[in-house]
């Protein structure tokens, strides 16, 4: 057999790369293992949502930080980012990633802090991951319908780390929340993350933020998304905590028959 026959064609290589880097097709999310301390109330059984299924205006937000390429290459930066993803987040927000790490198709649970000491439980699925980027996509009920891509690129002697969000608020309540300070909070969240990522490589840098409104229209036909709102369901779950504790106590005190 000649070398040409043994070697896969460019098309075969691309197909293999696509099969490895993209998540397998699923209709609804499934959380295989719930880590200790994580709340899984808005993820299992939910479908993924792209910006097409969202309610609010459509935004593309890009956050970038530059590091000297001699300090870290794009590939090493992404490897570290995948491995230590939650470490760079602001305090009070938890990312319960799968034990296997950021791999296509894996589902992570999120327990977030919102203004007013509100707790929100939701999740994300790893839609795509390669050596230079990875993308997380949101399920129904998440505050945002869309995805966020983390990538790194070497440009003019610098390694540019980037987080890019493409999303709409998923329902009218989250749209109102974004307008009343949610956008600012989201910007702060990713600016903090990128600052911490740069500090991990011993580099202090300003985060460059670009915000583009891709579509000013709201998709009113999607207002019903509110029924799956993770904010509402998380609040109901929190309010029910004393009741669940009492039920557990009563069960424990009841003699076994």
């Amino acid at each position: 057999m000649s070398d040409d026959q043994a070697r896969p064609s460019a098309t075969e290589r691309s197909a293999a790369r696509a099969a490895t880097n993209w998540a397998k097709s699923i209709s609804r999310l499934n959380v295989s293992e719930v880590p200790d301390g994580a709340v899984n109330i808005n993820v299992t059984g939910r479908r993924l949502t792209s910006p097409i299924q969202g309610f609010g205006k459509m935004w593309q937000k890009t956050y970038q930080v530059r590091l000297p390429a001699e300090q870290v290459s794009a590939i090493d930066l992404i490897a570290t980012w995948k491995q230590r993803f939650p470490d760079f987040w602001p305090d009070g927000n938890r990312f319960y990633g799968p034990l296997t790490g950021i791999e296509p198709g894996e589902v992570a649970l999120l327990n977030m802090s919102l203004p007013g000491k509100m707790k929100l439980s939701t999740g994300v699925m790893v839609l795509y991951a390669d050596e230079e980027s990875f993308t997380l996509m949101t399920p129904e009920g998440h505050m945002l319908a869309g995805w966020i891509t983390f990538s790194a690129l070497e440009v003019d002697g610098d390694t540019v780390a980037q987080a890019q969000v493409l999303m709409r608020a998923s329902d009218p309540i989250f749209e109102l929340g974004l307008t009343l300070g949610g956008h600012r909070q989201e910007d702060h969240f990713w600016q903090h993350t990128l600052t911490q990522l740069a500090l991990h490589f011993d580099h202090e840098a300003e985060v460059d933020t670009q915000v583009v409104c891709v579509d000013k229209r709201r998709q009113w036909s999607r207002w019903r998304n509110v029924w799956q709102s993770s904010a509402i369901r998380s609040t109901i779950y929190t309010l029910g905590t004393p009741g669940r504790a009492c039920k557990r106590l009563l069960k424990r005190d009841r003699p076994a028959t």
């Binding site: 993308t135 891509t149 493409l166």
Partner: protein
């Protein structure tokens, strides 16, 4: 990245329909060329834009993001977006990302043009 190999060529199949033939990779770096092709395709009187993926080599998540942006631009112009020539794998990616709810997917050009 082999971005230089990426080409988007526009064909006029009727007064109201344009086909964009895609060759190579679609990634976030393809934004300028893709939007330029859409600008050339989206002339007055065009009501449908058909994306021909027969020559698609590779698409990453940045590429899917670009297609969403193109779709929003087309919706603003009251244009329909159709697609054909997607491999089985990318058909599944369209389903996974729920892009198939807004882009009508067909087996070949004849079927796409008939639906346009």
């Amino acid at each position: 990245m082999p971005e230089a190999a990426t080409r988007f060529e526009v064909r006029e199949t009727s007064a109201a329909v344009r086909v964009i033939d895609i060759t190579g990779d679609i990634t976030a770096q393809s934004e300028d060329v893709l939007m330029d092709a859409y600008g050339r395709a989206s002339t007055k009187g065009v009501s449908a834009v058909v994306l021909n993926f027969c020559g698609l080599d590779y698409m990453n998540s940045g590429g899917i993001g670009l297609l969403v942006t193109l779709l929003v631009r087309a919706q603003r112009q009251h244009q329909q977006v159709l697609a054909y020539g997607l491999s089985e794998h990318y058909c599944q990616i369209f389903e996974l990302t729920r892009l198939d709810e807004a882009v009508s997917i067909h087996h070949d050009e004849a079927a796409a043009l008939a639906a346009a």
